[in-house]
Amino acid sequence: MPVHTYLQNVERLGSLVTRSRFGRVVLLLMAVASFVIGFVYHTLAMQRGAESPVLFEVTQNISVLLGFFALWLLFAKRFNSRQSSPARIFWTVLVFGILFILAASLTTSIFRGDDPELIDIFQAESEFNNGIPRVLTTIIRSSLLSIIGVFFSLYALFRIRELVLFKRTKTSQRNWNFLMAAMAVFSLTFFMKSPQDESLNVLQSIALLPAVGLMVINSLRASWIVYFNFKQKLISISLSLVVLFCLLISLGMTSLPAPSPYLSDMFVYMRFYNYVLYMFILLTVCFGILYCTASLLLLLFHLPTTGDFQRREHERAVMHALTDLVNQAFDSEKLYSKIASSPVEAGSAVSAWLAVADVQSGSLRPNLVASYNIDSGYVDRVVDSTALYDEASSVGSSVLIGDALTDHRLDVRAGDGFGSLLAVPLITRDEVLGVLFVTKDVTHGFEQDDIDSIQIYAAQAAIAMDNARLFEEQLEKERLTRELDIAREVQRKLLPQSLPSLHGVTLAASNVSAERVGGDYYDFLQLDEDRLSIIIGDVSGKGASAAFYMAEMQGIFQSTSRLAPRPIEFLKHANAALSGSLEKNVFISVIYGLLDLKKEEFIIGRAGHCPAATINLNGEAKYLRPSGIGLGLDRGALFDKALQEERISLQPGDVFVLYTDGIIESRNSEGEEYGYERLLNALQSYRYEDATGIHEALLNDLNSFLGQEIYDDDMTLVVIKWHGIHLSTPSPKSQKSVTLSVPVEPTS
């Protein structure tokens, strides 16, 4: 729109000039000068008694218009940057309207004298002769009235502009600028026109049309009205009525006795002062009256709906305020009850409750975590929350039950105060965190805008829940880290700090935990000079609880092994002891062995653990896998029945390897498992080494297979070798304990 751009450029230029103090002073001087010039011009005309030369007239007209334009810029500067409430603006415009009427009436009626004949002469029209004033009072009067008119019309225009452009759009802004332009164009068509000629020529009639049209369009922009409360509307209506009433009286248009019947004279004075100015002021006054009337009517129309609108605003405000609070609540419990209570407190619902899916417990049933103004037991009885929850979360939008009595998911009776229900899913990041249920005591109580506002609220509540959850997760994580540090320390102390020394036997053992705390356990107990009991175990699960069960296992081993050293006895005792304390889903797989050097035998019992690998000097390798169920899996006769032990007569050079599944199940980058085969093969290659050498070689073989030292499970490896001869002093090197407890970042 080139016209529009041009108008905007004018506006920008104006603001450029008024930005500096100097510019403003110059503009003010211009306005004053134009006023002085006008005054002098009219005085000269009066003295001359005849029309002024055309050049004089043109100069005066232009100077008046320039002065007006200067004032316009000053007003624009004054009002463009102001932010006032619509009520204040509207009221001040009305009050100024009244003041304007009073001032104008006063100016036209003063110094009129009491002589009835004189009154006739002093009628405005007759004070001028061919557009030339007859007496000095006429000049003063017309100058004063013009100034009052200019000030009022500028003031009114800029204030009404704020109202029209309240919640402005591009279109409304453009319409306003067009109105200003149309008014200016129409007024300018009266340039140099004789004030005695009141009729409109064709051009002027055409120019009037867009001005009137734009006035109507602009006067319909009164969106500020809906934000008024009842009291503000009443005040506005009364004030508008007063203004219109004053106007009518002043113009002598009522049968009431007018305090001043001369207001219509005001416009005559202005016309004779300057036709263009007069037209602009007239248009402004007309627009002001039009706007005032339109607003009055709109106010009257909106009066009955004020209550509803205010209620909705209040709801929104309450919801908003509570959401802010909700954003700060990191305690889930508090947050839940806040989410449930807010819609009720805001008046959007009669009762509400919140259900969330309890992922932690693994249940897919929603949990009712908070309710407000309704008993949760009652809700559980009468509402099929699961069905509604599933529907709302699968559809991803609200489920509305208009009539609670007829819906199959609700089992309510009339008189329960349960009319309609709305289930709104709380969704954030594409995840349903819960469902908010709100009810009303009437059927079909939720209108679309109720649903909308509750949905907006639900979206915010979801974000708050998400925040709280993340916060709690972080806390939990930190708490867990601390806990795990303690558990790790405990676990480290539970593993043997040194290896026992027996004649003719070498031992080596190591443990690596994938996570801070593993579930692997191994231990030795020297029963006497010739007997050693050995245990290796794996507690199902990981973390602190695994460490706890490991501690228990260690206690059982250290105490029971002495009393019941034989594998079957020991494992039966251990199972019985653990049955009372293990969680249902926790079990421990172990291999327990008793090495008897006097009898030269090794007896092992296996409770669900990976089979022990063994090899003799000839290279005959195999797995020892006597039957047996994991500890804690069966807590009665079945365990005892299944349990067997295997007895091996020791030959010099026999090697026994005990390990946990972490070794066998270790996978390389291609996803291939180390497996049972490889373990035996490696054992074959290094069977001549002592326990430490074999242990080291096995770990090297495993690491070279994996290609990197990243473990995703705990790995424990125990190697026992019977050398057959009583080594007089066991070499410290061969007795080296390789107890590692290296936490490696979990790879999963």
Binding site: V359, S361, G362, S363, L364, R365, G519, D538, V539, S540, G541, K542, E583, K584, N585, V586, F587, S589, G608, H609, C610, P611, R625, S627, G628, I629, G630, L633, D634, L638, A642, D661, E665, E673, D713, S748
Partner: protein, 120 residues
């Protein structure tokens, strides 16, 4: 990150759970939720189809232990079918075949329920 999932198939009187992927300490809760759901819906007869189960850890095995007693008390059971050899070995080492019916095919597992039903 979870590469484990449970699929539900409802038969006439038996609920079949298809396990896919790797069942370890991190994914055990999903199987737990699935079995709890069956329990809550009064479906006490559960067949686990392990044809697509690639791996199971001790924590995964623990899930079966957690519910078996309760399910059996309410007249149901968990029967395990179609395990891959490597996975079966893990069950086997721990002695699960003594505690659970572990069979080759899903059909067999369902039939096993039929037999017990007839026995009832």
């Amino acid at each position: 990150m979870s590469n484990f999932s449970v699929g539900f198939r409802s038969g006439s009187s038996v609920e079949v759970l298809d396990l896919n992927g790797e069942l370890d300490a991190h994914t055990a809760s999903e199987l737990e939720a699935a079995i709890q759901k069956c329990r809550d819906e009064q479906k006490h007869r559960i067949v686990i189809n392990g044809a697509n189960l690639q791996y199971i850890s001790s924590a995964g095995l623990g899930v079966f232990m957690a519910y078996i007693e309760e399910l059996r008390d309410s007249g149901g059971d968990i029967k395990i079918a179609a395990l891959q050899p490597k996975v079966f070995n893990v069950f086997d080492l721990l002695g699960f075949p003594m505690l659970f019916d572990i069979v080759d095919t899903e059909k067999e597992a369902i039939e096993k329920f039929g037999v017990t039903q007839a026995d009832d």
